[in-house]
């Protein structure tokens, strides 16, 4: 792998946050997506959804203000913003599965060129695995963004022709934000929208198993 700087996990979250628009209803999954709330563009309000029955989650609770009946899907005590509401888990997933949320952001182990997602189990791992809400979310999301590192720790590409890991959902991903690129999943295949600073489209392609289409000039990912 070229020894060039890549985006940090925080920077991936920061870039993904710019995909969110004012007033959007948004679910954030485990991992990098959970960092996105820290990087909302100024001046916009986003209503964060939690699968345990919250719409309108605010920031994490400060020390001393934690209420353990008010936690997010990662069990972290949170706060509410004005206009928040509670409901039971079935309605929470009616929102995810029924296409009522504007955006969902999940972590990923692999994404394929037709937008299949694998994110719940590593092949050969011991133990039961954990599905949680990811299959409901991926099946129903109007706009599904996956945030992940571009390569595994061993350098293997995570954007592949066909997922070899157990699938979470098929043909469900709309956009992939990694430490190297922003990529859109289209009917014609994967399109490289932006590349990390200092990375050429060819260098990003070399880290990617699936074919990336380049349409005109590919701008740098801008975090400013």
């Amino acid at each position: 792998m070229p020894d060039k700087p890549r985006l940090t996990r925080e920077q991936i979250a920061q870039r993904a946050a710019r995909e969110l628009t004012d007033g959007a209803y948004v679910n954030l999954g485990w991992g990098i997506p959970n960092l996105i709330a820290n990087y909302l563009p100024q001046g916009i309000t986003v209503y964060f959804h939690s699968e345990n029955g919250i719409l309108g989650m605010g920031r994490r609770a400060n020390p001393g203000e934690e209420d353990y009946d008010l936690v997010d899907a990662m069990k972290v005590p949170v706060t509410l913003i004005p206009g928040a509401s509670f409901f039971h888990q079935a309605d929470a997933h009616l929102m995810t599965r029924g296409g009522h949320l504007d955006v969902a952001v999940l972590g990923g182990f692999q994404v394929s060129e037709n937008g299949d997602l694998a994110n719940w189990k590593i092949p050969g791992s011991k133990g039961s695995g954990n599905i949680g809400g990811a299959m409901d979310i991926s099946a129903g999301a109007k706009n599904l963004i996956v945030c992940m590192e571009h390569n595994t720790k061993d350098g293997a590409p995570k954007i592949v022709k066909k997922c070899s890991y157990p699938l979470t959902g098929i043909e469900c991903v709309n956009t992939i934000v990694t430490d190297l690129a922003v990529i859109d999943v289209t009917k014609e295949g994967l399109v490289l929208r932006e590349a990390a600073p200092g990375w050429s489209p060819e260098e990003v392609q070399a880290q990617t198993e699936a074919k990336l289409q380049v349409r005109g000039r590919v701008p740098e990912i801008n975090l400013a």
């Binding site: 939690s50 699968e51 345990n52 029955g53 919250i54 209420d67 353990y68 009946d69 008010l70 936690v71 997010d72 899907a73 990662m74 069990k75 509670f86 409901f87 039971h88 888990q89 079935a90 929470a92 997933h93 009616l94 995810t96 599965r97 299949d116 189990k121 011991k126 133990g127 039961s128 695995g129 954990n130 599905i131 949680g132 809400g133 990811a134 299959m135 409901d136 099946a139 129903g140 157990p166 699938l167 979470t168 959902g169 098929i170």
Partner: protein, 225 residues
């Protein structure tokens, strides 16, 4: 008025037999019927099928039941990063597990509650979850058939009950509890407070009393994980 209030946790679970199918509410540490779970474990129950989002947090929540080897089969969505007692038994083959997508777990319980015999969904198509399930195309979408999940008992947690069993919940401690209350034959609720009939505004009732068979006040463990 039918008396639903039970004097003790132990009395509330006394007739639950070995081998029962039992739903347990709770998510993310909130809304678990921890005191009922401890009473059930204390009674020495065996061979249950547990239906729950997760499989305990160390010894907490359902963890104690796995630690003591009291669960034979579990239907869960997210066993969880700290479900070590479940994972140990699962690795040894002492517990079997059906993993279910979380929203589908809810809807399968709701189907049971609603007298429905199944539904089709795109969730899980082409994944391990689809193994052995009927598939058909509806409106151009590949779907799989999901069947209801019934239970003999539901152990749930609410904040407040009136003497009839009308329930209110607190914040995100609601989660699976109202769904399980509707799906089980016998629902046993532990609450912080029991109030007189008529003192909960009907507009604010989340679980109507028709779904609740036993009420017990519990002042012990709130967060066990």
């Amino acid at each position: 008025m039918k008396q639903k209030i039970v004097p003790s946790l132990d009395a509330a679970v006394a007739d639950i037999p070995d081998g029962a199918r039992i739903m347990f509410g709770g998510f993310g540490g909130a809304g678990f019927p921890n005191n009922l779970i401890q009473a059930l474990s204390r009674k020495g129950i065996k061979e249950i099928t547990a239906i729950s989002n997760n499989c305990g947090t160390r010894e907490g929540e359902l963890g104690v039941m796995f630690k003591n080897g009291q669960v034979r089969h579990v239907i869960a969505s997210f066993p969880g990063p700290h479900s070590n007692y479940f994972q140990e038994r699962y690795a040894k083959g002492e517990v079997t597990c059906e993993l279910v997508p979380q929203g589908i777990l809810c809807e399968r319980m709701r189907a049971a509650a609603a007298g429905l015999f199944g539904f089709y969904t795109t969730v899980g198509v082409d994944t391990e979850v689809a193994n052995g399930k009927e598939e058909r195309v509806i409106a151009g979408k590949r779907c799989i058939l999901e069947l209801p999940i019934h239970a003999d008992f539901a152990l749930i947690k609410a904040e407040k009950s009136d003497e009839l069993g009308n329930l209110t919940y607190r914040l995100a401690a609601r989660n699976f509890n109202p769904i399980m209350a509707m799906a089980a034959t016998t629902t046993i609720v532990e609450v912080d407070e029991i109030v007189p009939v008529g003192s909960i505004d009907p507009e604010n009732v989340i679980t109507p009393a028709i779904f609740v068979q036993r009420i017990v006040q519990a002042k012990g463990t709130r967060y066990a994980g």
